[in-house]
């Protein structure tokens, strides 16, 4: 579930508040948004994809909080990593346009 909003990276655009399908974040006037309803997070990773500043981190466990810290994430380089893999963001090629996605679909039928 969602665990980190990086105050250092967040640009207070509140895009995460707008796009979260399960209404996890609250806007805060004059500050960065807060994770107000962490238990409602469905671990879909969409907030990360829509965050223009790579300021969010969704941990893979949907049932328990891992307690990972921003400092650890900066060190491991995991923060922002999903957007890069999907090819969203300036100068990147979206994975949708890669033929290997089609090849995989043909093989796996998922």
């Amino acid at each position: 579930m969602i665990e980190v909003i990086s105050a250092a990276r967040c640009v207070e655009c509140n895009q995460c508040v707008s796009v979260c399908p399960t209404n996890v974040f609250d806007r805060v006037e004059g500050d960065i948004p807060v994770i107000a309803r962490q238990n409602d997070c469905q671990t879909c990773f969409m907030c990360e994809l829509y965050c223009p500043a790579d300021a969010l981190y969704v941990a893979p466990d949907s049932e328990a909080v891992s307690g990972v810290t921003e400092a650890e994430l900066e060190q491991s380089g995991l923060i922002g990593g999903y957007r890069e893999k999907v090819g969203w963001g300036k100068g990147r090629q979206p994975v949708a346009s890669h033929e290997y996605m089609i090849k995989l679909a043909a093989r796996a039928g998922f």
């Binding site: 941990a59 346009s97 996605m101 995989l104 093989r107």
Partner: protein
């Protein structure tokens, strides 16, 4: 943090439209685009956000595309009819195959970056969820549709002429809204019981409940026994990736490997823990290909510190409810009209039996169905709304909702949504009850669900979250009761319907089961056009 308090019965934002679309997944997006393209003034309201909401957006989907070669199409249709227990309709499968090709051409024209083969032909067989739904948002907006995000509908409006709009609430501002519209499209998805499959926790069945409260019928609710594997604690349910896996038991002994391992997991998991390792991807090239092709599958594993090609990681199952089942609102015609005037249904909120029969649509059938049924429902709703002489705002419309709403509160206790949801989940999620269905087990679970009904009469909390969750709890409870009621009425095994006491297919039951009502559930059968083509082998085995 802000807690919005709602003034009971004060509707802050009131407006009219020709067509109101509820739901912002693929089916809702296509319905809104289609209705607007046919000249209707359209509002689309989604509980979350058109672009991120629903089962499709966070993942991706393969599409059912079969070249327009008569022989191939006939083969596909015949195979589907057999697999679906003769409950599908060949004409509808042909319609879907024709329509989805036309719509995918549009998707490409609108800018979706389909890769091309060496001859330059576009390969339109797969859609990446985030990219697809980002595009659909742009297309829907450009068509002139007003998009209301974070705006769950809570109940429909109706009068003696049928449905005429809906009421809901904006989750961010706390303002209530009312849209009067002569046609409403329910595209709210299936009901997955908050089981944490990828993107599926928004699929809580309110659309089905809202429609049923106006008298709409449901069909196929018994075909709802699908569970999808994900790694333990995770949400990514891409079971077909296990085609590259070996499954291991708790002692590290291999059990199964390769294709179709995922279908065996319920049987294995009731015996003990099951681990998977993608060790059939045995070269660096294969591993690199898989990693790069499917980030949503590999990224969470990587974050969890698992090397899926080497490590053995524990699996769990996520119940997929009616989402990957086939049941939903009964459609009465080619325009995807539901059984109440002015009401239309699309995508997983609609019964998909006409196309998939008794078995799961799977990703491919369901994705193509969402595109086609959305287009048809949008067009049908637009034509209906534009042909009405009575304006929606001059109708004497009343709210139709009751269960889990303040209008239905007739008891002194406070409605506590979370414990109620947990109580429903205890009856619906366990494999022992819902996958390994038996008359005894399902009857007992249904009795326990019935005993929860009085809880819905409690006083609704005044916060936005409290209001929305109370309604979700009511919808989950009703959906569970519909599923088990239908499951007990089909005394045979056919497709996704199964009862231990009736392990075989019964040709006499080659019909659909139609449910209606909420507290008291009525049940009847509906005949299907291909029932007489069903031929059983001599031993009469299940299909």
């Amino acid at each position: 943090m802000p807690q919005h308090t709602l003034q009971e019965q004060v509707v802050r934002q009131q407006t009219t439209a020709d067509v109101l679309v509820l739901g912002g997944g693929p089916a809702g997006a296509w319905a809104a685009w289609s209705a607007a393209s046919h000249g209707a003034k359209v509002i689309l309201a989604d509980k979350g956000y058109l672009g991120t909401s629903g089962a499709t957006a966070p993942g991706g989907t393969t599409l059912l595309v079969i070249p327009p070669v008569a022989k191939l199409r006939e083969q596909a249709v015949a195979a589907r009819l057999r697999a679906g227990g003769y409950l599908s309709e060949n004409a509808w499968i042909h319609r879907v195959l024709d329509q989805v090709e036309r719509n995918l051409e549009l998707v490409e024209q609108w800018g979706y970056p389909f890769p091309r083969d060496e001859a330059g032909r576009p390969l339109r067989t797969h859609l990446h969820g985030p990219e697809y739904m980002k595009l659909m948002r742009r297309v829907v907006r450009k068509a002139g549709v007003k998009i209301w995000d974070q705006s769950p509908a809570l109940e429909l409006l109706h009068d003696r002429h049928g449905v005429g709009g809906a009421r809901g609430v904006n989750r961010l501002t706390g303002e209530t809204w009312e849209v009067r519209a002569n046609a409403v499209v329910i595209a709210t998805g299936g009901c997955a019981f908050l089981s944490k499959g990828l993107g599926c926790n928004v699929l809580t069945g309110e659309g089905l409940l809202m429609a049923a409260e106006t008298g709409a019928d449901l069909s196929g609710m018994e075909f709802s026994r699908q569970y999808a594997p994900s790694f333990e604690g995770g949400t990514v349910t891409r079971g077909r990736m296990l085609a590259w896996a070996t499954l291991y038991d708790g002692a590290g002994r291999p059990i199964l490997r390769g294709d179709r391992t995922f279908g065996s997991i319920p049987e294995l998991l009731v015996k003990g823990p099951v681990y998977a390792s993608l060790d059939l991807a045995d070269t660096p090239e294969k591993r690199e290909f898989l990693r790069r092709a499917h980030p949503i599958f590999f990224m969470p594993l990587e974050r969890a510190g698992i090397d899926p090609f080497r490590d053995k990681f524990p699996l769990t199952l996520r119940y997929e409810g009616t989402m990957r089942g086939t049941g939903g609102l009964r459609l009465t015609g080619a325009d995807c009209a539901a059984s109440v005037p002015g009401l239309y249904a699309a995508g997983d909120a609609a019964s998909r039996e006409k196309v998939t029969g008794a078995i799961s649509g799977g990703g491919a059938y369901n994705a193509s169905w969402a595109i086609c049924s959305g287009s048809w429902a949008g067009e049908g709703a637009a034509r209906y709304a534009l042909s009405q002489t009575r304006h929606a705002d001059s109708r004497e419309l009343a709210p139709a909702g009751r269960h889990g709403l303040q209008a239905g509160a007739d008891k002194p206790h406070r409605l506590e949504a979370k414990p109620l949801i947990a109580a429903v989940q205890r009856e619906v999620l366990p494999l022992e009850t819902n996958y390994f269905r038996s008359e005894a087990g399902v009857s007992a679970a249904l009795r326990r669900l019935d005993s929860l009904l009085p809880e819905l009469g409690g006083v609704i909390p005044s916060t936005v979250q409290g209001i929305v969750q109370s309604r979700e709890a009511a919808a989950l409870l009703m959906a569970g009761r519909w599923i088990y009621t239908a499951a007990l009425a089909r005394r045979e095994t056919r497709g996704l319907a199964h009862l231990a006491e009736y392990p075989q297919l019964d040709p006499q039951q080659t019909h659909r089961l139609i449910l209606s009502g909420t507290v008291r559930i009525g049940i009847r059968t509906e005949s299907v056009p291909h029932a007489r083509e069903l031929q059983l082998p001599a031993e009469g085995r299940a299909i």
